[in-house]
Every structure is written in structure tokens, then in C-alpha cells.
């Protein structure tokens, strides 16, 4: 089985978010970058599927040279080779059309992504890639098993899940509990250094949006503390001050 895993290179979930260049650019100063947590689930499941039934895993990122350590980490976790599409992504359509172009005739059985990126939070790239390639796209996927040429999945819906089956190839946007995040071991880290990482230039240059500017939310007011022996006061505040109950 041939699997493509698309990963993002995103600020660590504990990062403080700040902007520069007149609020037009993310301030990467002092920020640690990681594989997107949902993409990490997708990668972990890909590694498990490969362990079960063989095949190969390619990881792909659309980004500048600074994302290469993140791709190397994915190689250390278990991918066989990596592709970096050398472009600063502008929006989901940009990313999706580049991914679809690379995947088009490459014969992947499964294209796994995260349910969403944690920087852009679009939740859109997988659906767009599916549509451009004319294959099913399922998201958010909680479990994924392969039975012959069929993928069996559970998809999260509000308040529950639905079970579904579809023939490969397909695109899936993954989330937990599809697999446990994998930590690279020493052997993986060593071998990742020599695995191929191919850089390709973008060819589609599509986009549907342009950035005007970023903005931070207004600062939160101070917390009102209520004594544990006086819960009636809290009820009073919620009722008459916040007016929510």
C-alpha cells in the first residue's frame, strides 16, 4: 500500500502567538515548531498500517526550507521519503492544489492528513484535494482499518460517530483516537538523515484569499473570586451580572 501523509509545520501548542511586519506576519521568534498534532495522528496510523501490511509512506509539506527539520522528524517516526513543495502557503486552496498536483499520477492508495492545521484551522485541505482528484474525502476520521481494497472508518459527528466504508483511493482527515502519537527512537533518527527529501517547486499558484492583517483578541478582564462557603454569591453573579442562568 502506498500512503501519502501531508503534515504541517506549526508552533508548539504552548506557544504565545504574536505578529510582526504591521501584523502581516507570524512572529516566529523563540517559537518551537512541531508536526501538527492531528497530522501526527495521521502519521502514526500510517506507520501502524505499514507495519501490518507493508508498503511505503511519503510525507509531504508545502513550506519553506525551515520546515525540513519537521519533515526529518516524520522520517524518523517511520516515513520512507519526504517531499517539500517549496512555497510559502497562502491559503487552503493553494496548499490543496499543490498537493493534488503532486499526488495526481503517483498512485497513492491513501492520502492521510490531519482534521485541521492548528495555525490556520481551516479543516479544508483534505476535502479540496479529494475534489480535485475526484476521490472520496472523509473527515474527521477517528478510526481507520483496511480490509482488502476497502477502508473502514469511524467519522466523528456532533454527539457521536458514524461508521463508513469506502473503496480506496481516498483522502482522510484524521484525529484521535486513530492511533497514539509516536516518538522517534534513536535508530529512526539515525536513518532519517539519509532518507530522501525531495524539493519540488510549486506549479499551480492558486489561491482564493489574500491576507489583510492578523489581530490578537482583546485582553481578558480580571477574575472575580468567590468564597467557597458562599456559592450563593456565584449564582447571584451568574444570574444578575453575567445574565447567563
Amino acid at each position: 500500500m502506498k500512503i501519502l501523509v501531508c503534515i504541517t509545520h506549526v508552533p508548539d501548542t504552548t506557544s504565545r502567538i504574536a505578529f510582526t511586519d504591521g501584523d502581516k506576519k507570524f512572529d516566529a521568534n523563540g517559537v518551537q515548531f512541531i508536526i501538527g498534532p492531528y497530522d501526527d495522528y495521521a502519521l502514526a496510523r500510517a506507520v501502524e498500517l505499514k507495519e501490518q501490511s507493508g508498503g511505503s509512506i511519503t510525507v509531504l509539506n508545502v513550506g519553506g526550507a525551515e520546515t525540513e527539520p519537521t519533515l526529518r522528524k516524520a522520517l524518523a517516526i517511520g516515513a520512507d521519503d519526504a517531499i517539500r513543495i517549496n512555497a510559502e502557503p497562502t491559503d487552503s486552496l493553494f496548499v490543496a492544489s499543490e498537493i493534488a498536483h503532486v499526488a495526481k499520477d503517483a498512485g497513492y492508495d491513501l492520502i492521510l492528513m490531519g482534521r485541521e492545521s492548528i495555525d490556520f484551522n481551516g479543516g479544508m485541505v483534505h476535502g479540496m484535494v479529494g475534489e480535485i482528484l475526484g476521490i472520496p474525502s472523509i473527515s474527521p476520521v477517528m478510526t481507520l482499518d483496511i480490509d482488502g481494497d476497502t477502508a473502514k472508518m469511524a467519522r466523528e459527528i456532533e454527539g457521536g460517530k458514524e461508521m463508513l466504508e469506502v473503496k480506496m483511493p481516498l483522502v482522510a482527515g484524521c484525529q484521535e483516537p486513530i492511533a497514539e502519537w509516536k516518538i522517534p527512537n534513536m535508530r529512526g533518527i539515525m536513518s532519517a538523515r539519509t532518507k530522501p527529501l525531495n524539493v519540488v517547486e510549486p506549479s499551480q499558484n492558486q489561491s482564493g484569499t489574500t491576507l489583510d492583517k492578523f489581530e490578537l483578541p482583546p485582553a481578558k478582564g480580571a477574575v472575580k473570586m468567590v468564597d467557597a462557603d458562599n456559592v450563593a454569591e456565584l449564582v447571584n453573579l451568574l444570574k444578575n451580572d453575567a445574565k447567563v442562568i
Binding site: N121, G123, M124, G127, S137, S139, E158, L216
Partner: protein, 319 residues
Amino acid sequence: MSSILVFVESAEGQIKKTSLEAVAYAKGMGGDVTTIAFGTEVSDSELQGLGNYGASKVLHVKDDRYNKGVIQAYASVIADAMNKEGADVLVLANSSLGNPVSARVAVKVDASLVSNVTELPDTSAGFKVKRSIYTGKAFANVELTKDKKILAIKKNAAEVKEVGGTATVEAFAGSAADSDFSTNITKTEKATGEILLPEAELVVSGGRGLKGPENWGMIEELAKVLGAATGCSKPVSDMDWRPHHEHVGQTGVKVSPQLYIAVGISGAIQHLAGVNSSKNIVVINKDPEAPFFKAADYGIVGDAFEVIPKLTEAIKAAK
């Protein structure tokens, strides 16, 4: 002004509240609002009722093949409806069905697509919207550059208002190809009758501080008295104390209720990422240094096992 199509979802025969917000949002943009609804489980009168929220027309794909949310089939029909109605804007609620569907529609009709939209567009120069990014930690103002636009709106982007009136319901043929139904939904498991967490106005959420699943009775009791949904932190669902769909945060459900009550949750930044668009946050934690207090509007330092039963009684008394 443009002609706007709104994709509305229903559950158990009722239009979802988040979809009513999408209708209100479209109405707020001005112009005529047409909606499209799917399946045979939603009644004509329920659909006519969309008029009360600002829709003038409902296209009803009254076909039981659409009772289940097959992503590709929905996308084909919605794209077809946009073309036939001459709609240049599609509005829908961010949801587990809406998002994957809208991504495909955007490619089909060559539209600019923006999800997580938090406010009405600014059309004074171009067409700009504000969207939530970095999991609620920031916003981006973006311009949609294509002729057609699709907006997937975040909860609370628009306030549902009753405007009076009924909508006319027209049958709309589901034109999806058989190949669009290649995904076979074999089973649906869904909590019924419960208040769904992503849509809830009030949420009571518990963390590892509650020690074990056997102690959730008091959380459920408080939620019941308030009419709230229940949520939890990630370790709680990882340990199977609570079902996965209750897990709130960076990697779980993002909630935007009027009130979020966090009990025995430390307030790790990944948990806060799921609650930072709540209107009011109450934190109950025995540790005065718990980071959650910094993100709270109201706080009580105390033992949950003492505070929660008292709080439940006090709310009962105040009702």
C-alpha cells in the same frame, strides 16, 4: 446585493441551532436568503419555519438517499443549487459535515472559501471577513478574491433573531451521481436527547481532579439543573472516564457557550484553546495557583466534592 444560499442541517427532524445562526448571518448580509435542506426526516412545517429567521425560500432535497450525510453527494447537490439559483455566496455553519462538504463545493464552483468566520463581512472595499486562527488565540482578516464566496461560520458569529414570516418550500432534485454515493455509511451512533456539546449554550466540564468516572454523578447533576452539556479534559477521555466526543480543547471539541464551568481542570494551554471563545468562564479548583484562574471570569478555590453539590443546590434554589 448578492443572492445567498444557506446550507441548513437538521438532526432528529429539527433544524440545528448552528444552522439558524447561518441563516441569521446570511440575513445580516442583506439580500435574499434561500436555504437548502436534505432528507426526508425534516418536515415541511419545520422548513417553512426558517422564514421566521429570515429565509424566503427553502430548496428541499426530499430524498431518503440524503438522510445520511454523504459528503460527496451533498457537495454535488449544493454546487448544482448554487448554479441554478445564481447564488454567488454560500453560507453554512462550521460542522463535521459542513466543513468537508464546503471544501468540495468550493472546488466545484471555483469559490473563495473561508471557515471559522466570526463576524459579518466588510464589503465597503472588496469582500473581507474575520476568521479565528491559532485555535482561538488570534484572528486573521482576509479578503475573498473570487467571484463566488463560501463562508463557514463559527458558532456565535451571528445572533439568531425571530423576524416573523414563513418560507416557501420547493422540491429540489438531488442530482448527485451514483459515484457520489460510493461511501457507504453502515451505522450511526449518536447520543439522543442529550444537549450536544458543540452547540451548547451552557457547559459543565470535569478534569482529572475529579479522581474517577464514578464521581461524574455530581457533574451530571449540576449540568441537568442548568440544562447544560457535559464536557471533560483530554486525559479524562483518554482514560475512558468519559466518551471521546466530550473531550474539549486543542485536539477535541471547541466550544463557544455563554457559560463554561470547569471543575478540577488545571487549565493547560491546550485545554484553553477549546474554550477561549466562551462568553463566561467559571473555574472551580482546589489549587489557587491553577493556571485556569487567569482565563476565568469567576473563580472558586475549593474542593469540588464540597463545592459542586452546594452549587447545584444553590442554583435549584435560585430557579
